[in-house]
């Protein structure tokens, strides 16, 4: 009985995860990832400043030209520096940023594992 429910669960899980997942290329996501340089810690999606309005036009134009997300970010960080993009690139300089959280997670896991008494018998 338990086995059947487990099987059924797994099938349903598979259904719910895959059948409906979709990745939409949407401009809102890109806007949220671009810092409004003239504002205090806001993205251009959240700002109506002159700068934010102009960048939005540029991004929309570039989407129309068929540029992908990465090309748009590269264009902007080339002009305004990496600071304009909220999601830091994964490169050797930022490797500590991206990897340290997971390294600490693995290390913590090992530490706790060491405390466990293995059940004999």
């Amino acid at each position: 009985m338990i086995k059947n429910i487990t099987k059924l669960s797994l099938i349903l899980l598979f259904l719910s995860s895959n059948a409906f997942s979709e990745s939409v290329f949407d401009e809102a996501k890109i806007f949220k990832n671009i810092r409004c340089l003239v504002c205090q810690g806001q993205s251009i999606a959240d700002s109506n400043s002159e700068f934010a309005q102009t960048i939005k036009i540029v991004v929309r134009d570039q989407i129309k030209e068929g540029k992908n997300e990465k090309e748009i970010y590269d264009f902007l960080s080339n002009k305004f520096g990496e600071w304009i993009i909220y999601k830091p690139k994964f490169n050797y300089r930022n490797s500590i940023l991206w990897l340290l959280p997971y390294l600490s997670l693995i290390l913590g896991g090992i530490l706790i594992y060491k405390f466990l008494r293995k059940r004999k018998n």
């Binding site: 340089l37 002159e50 700068f51 309005q53 102009t54 960048i55 002009k79 520096g81």
Partner: protein, 176 residues
Amino acid sequence: MKFKRIVFFTIVFFILVVFFFALKKSNIYNTKNLIGQKIEPFEIISFENNEIVTEKNLQENNFTLINFWASWCSPCRVEHPFLISLSKTKKVKLIGVNFKDKKRNAQNFLNTLGNPYDLIVTDNNGTYSIHFGIYGIPESILIDKELKILAKFIGPIDKDDYKKIFEIIKNDKKYN
């Protein structure tokens, strides 16, 4: 235990020393990464007669200053006298990029304060300026004949910036 202690205190010292040096850093953002880059090819229409202006128009002189301005921008009025005297020296070619402006207002602005520019182009929706790495008005970019960016001035040109322009021109080995 001793090893742990050393590791711990080293990390703490490292973090705090970095914090200490961070205190001394200026918090004003500048797009200094642009310096040394080259201006990419572009096509913009001119202010006076809607002719097409390209990067070739920036190569007519050894040094060119591209100034981004608008009639609605009050700091632009502050820097205007510097631009006028800069144009009188004839050492730099001045290109004005009229940013998100109404043509009539811009014309009035020039009529009352004088026109320092050798050439003016129009950027109606501000998108061309983004290609030059501009994020506020006024800003100015100094380039050489090969379209290499020598300096970028954020905010109105003041006395110090004015001197700096001449220093850069004087110290540039290629064109002297």
